[in-house]
């Protein structure tokens, strides 16, 4: 089932559009990161990879909706979801296979971005800066992308199960991603007035600070809380998606 889903992604035009756009934008962002951290910019405390992964949200906003919007919405529109549900496979395994395929593709695209620091290092040759291939930082960044990506892709799959229209699924996915990625940072800036103390709320918001998680991973700080946050919410969303698929067929 997962192999077929991967094949379906492989032959879908929207996948190629997402992949090409992603690599173009990531290439441009890496150039920007090189500019930011290159000679002439003092102090040069940050690594190019750290700056590069800080901009993870930009491709996520368009790539995740494009990768996931067809997954269930298209099956519902064509009626093939009903045909799938007449076989012995369960709704849970159907959702899991669609998630796995999209998630593997998402991770593969991010792994492809390793080519940028390698190319930059090769192009500069002897003049190369050792900071270009700072593997701990690169691996930390990729680790964050992989962990947070599970939730982002699950959001996309969930949005796709809510509607028969792929475009609506894409817009819904974009909106949910926007809330999840940016709301934590924005809400902590809000003031609730003098004398109003909301310690539990503030503590809960700590989990939503996606950018903080990214920085921690980039520095090599492996905390269990982000893992807990991303994986439990991924499971929650996939569970809800399974219930939706069961009720809509």
């Amino acid at each position: 089932m997962t192999r077929n889903e991967l094949r379906a992604l492989w032959i879908a035009p929207s996948t190629y559009v997402a992949a090409v756009l992603f690599l173009i934008i990531m290439g441009a962002l890496y150039l920007l990161a090189l500019e930011e951290t290159g000679p002439g910019h003092a102090p040069k405390m940050e690594l190019p990879s750290t700056v590069f992964f800080k901009m993870f949200w930009l491709p996520v906003f368009f790539m995740v909706p494009m990768l996931t919007m067809r997954s269930i919405a298209e099956e519902r529109r064509l009626g093939t979801l009903e045909a799938l549900m007449t076989t012995p496979i369960s709704a849970g395994s159907l959702v899991a296979s669609k998630f796995t395929a999209a998630y593997l593709f998402y991770c593969m695209l991010w792994v492809l971005t390793l080519i940028f620091p390698i190319l930059a290092n090769m192009a500069l040759g002897a003049r190369g800066d050792p900071r270009l291939l700072d593997w701990p930082s690169l691996m930390g960044g990729l680790c964050f992308v992989a962990v947070s990506g599970s939730l982002f892709v699950a959001i996309g799959i969930f949005a796709s199960s809510m509607t028969r229209t792929t475009l609506v699924a894409g817009m819904l996915s974009f909106s949910l991603l926007f809330i999840v990625i940016l709301s934590g940072g924005l809400l902590t800036r809000l003031t609730f007035g003098d004398g109003i103390d909301l310690p539990f709320f503030a503590e809960a918001l700590e989990y939503l600070k996606t950018f903080q998680h990214q920085e921690d991973f980039g520095r090599g700080i492996i905390d269990s809380r982000p893992f807990f946050f991303y994986f439990t919410n991924t499971l929650l969303l996939l569970g809800l998606t399974t219930l939706i698929v069961e009720s809509k067929t």
Partner: protein, 342 residues
């Protein structure tokens, strides 16, 4: 239903058993207290007007939907409590036969074979077999499904339903879009499967159902309104003989003469006069007597009306269907009137 060979052996459960099944959508009963059984190896036609509850019943049988009351069993296994078991026993072809547009026929059937848990070493053999049976093996197997005609798409749906050699096949409108040759081939296929698999099929092509099935279930307004072999239904719903006669006479005169017969008959339909002035009249005897032919022949001779054709008309499934659904409508209207009076 066939009797068990040895009465001491435990009796095999019916292939399909539906008991008091009710499905309510938004306060309206789409399926209302439906009960029926289908014996193993039987081919049953499921008939009813649009919105009668055929597709809903079929979806519940396949485990795609659940009823609000009652139960459904497939070979003794409850669909509600063990859907994964019953799905292994059923091959289903849905009404609109949805297919993925971007896969080739052979790829799609291989994919479906994997989903249906057919062992890996069996897949090629099974796919080739069903493509041959449905005549997809010549040209269509390499083509992308999105580029296929309606008839070929229907055949892909039929091939998919047969793929896992299920004990029960349920097909919702399988002959829609098929040309007469393909319908003939489908009928032949049903003949080949007769006795090997239990088949339920719904269709609006009533002569097709009459030719292909052992038994018919007619459903209207969510209720079973008639059930039995076409012959039994004919005896129940159309007990009076029907005749077709081509005469050169004015309808009013003929009608007056018919009323004067010892065993009178009524005109049910009158055709337009042809170039020679002959009209075709459809008649129904007012009693269950088939010997109207002699009286009609005498009537034409006595009055000097040229008679070109006189034949006993066998009532077909269409007539039975119309009579059964009309009777159920009458019953529903009477029920409503009684409810309003109370």
């Amino acid at each position: 239903m066939p009797e068990a060979a040895d009465s001491s052996e435990p009796k095999a459960p019916p292939a399909i058993e539906v008991k008091n099944l009710t499905k309510i959508y938004h306060g309206t009963a789409a399926v209302n207290d439906v009960s029926f059984q289908v014996a193993p190896g039987e081919i049953v036609g499921f008939l009813g007007p649009n919105g009668a509850g055929k597709s809903t019943t079929m979806r519940i049988l396949c485990g795609l939907s659940s009823g609000n009351r009652g139960w459904v069993k497939v070979h003794g296994v409850s669909v509600a409590t063990h859907p994964e078991k019953t799905k292994r026993m059923i091959g289903y072809m849905p009404e609109n036969n949805p297919l993925p547009e971007d896969l080739r026929v052979s790829e799609y059937l291989r994919y479906r074979a994997k989903l249906k848990e057919i062992p890996a070493k069996e897949i090629s053999k099974r796919v080739d077999a069903v493509m041959e049976v449905t005549d997809l093996h010549r040209t269509a197997y390499r083509r992308v499904i999105g580029a296929l005609s309606k008839g070929f798409r229907q055949r892909v749906g039929i091939a998919d339903a047969l793929l896992s050699r299920p004990k029960v096949i349920i097909m919702d409108e399988p002959t829609i879009g098929l040309d007469p040759h393909q319908i003939h081939a489908f009928r032949r296929l049903l003949g080949e499967l007769r006795g090997q698999m239990t088949i339920i099929l719904s269709s609006h092509i009533l002569p097709e159902i009459e030719l292909s099935t052992d038994r018919v279930i007619i459903i209207n307004q969510g209720r079973v309104v008639a059930e039995g072999t076409p012959a039994a239904l004919r005896a129940e719903f159309m007990p009076r003989a029907q005749w077709s006669v081509a005469l050169k006479v004015e309808p009013a005169r003929f009608d007056f003469a018919l009323a004067g017969l010892e065993k009178p008959a009524s005109i049910t339909a009158v055709g337009e006069p042809d170039a020679q002035g002959f009209r075709t009249f459809n008649l129904v005897a007012n009693s269950e007597d088939e010997c109207l032919g002699v009286a009609l022949s005498e009537l034409a001779k006595t009055n000097g009306w040229p008679l070109r054709q006189l034949s006993l008309r066998q009532s077909n499934l269409e007539d039975i269907f119309m009579a059964a659904t009309k009777r159920s409508w009458d019953a529903i209207i009477a029920e409503k009137k009684a409810a309003n009076a109370n």
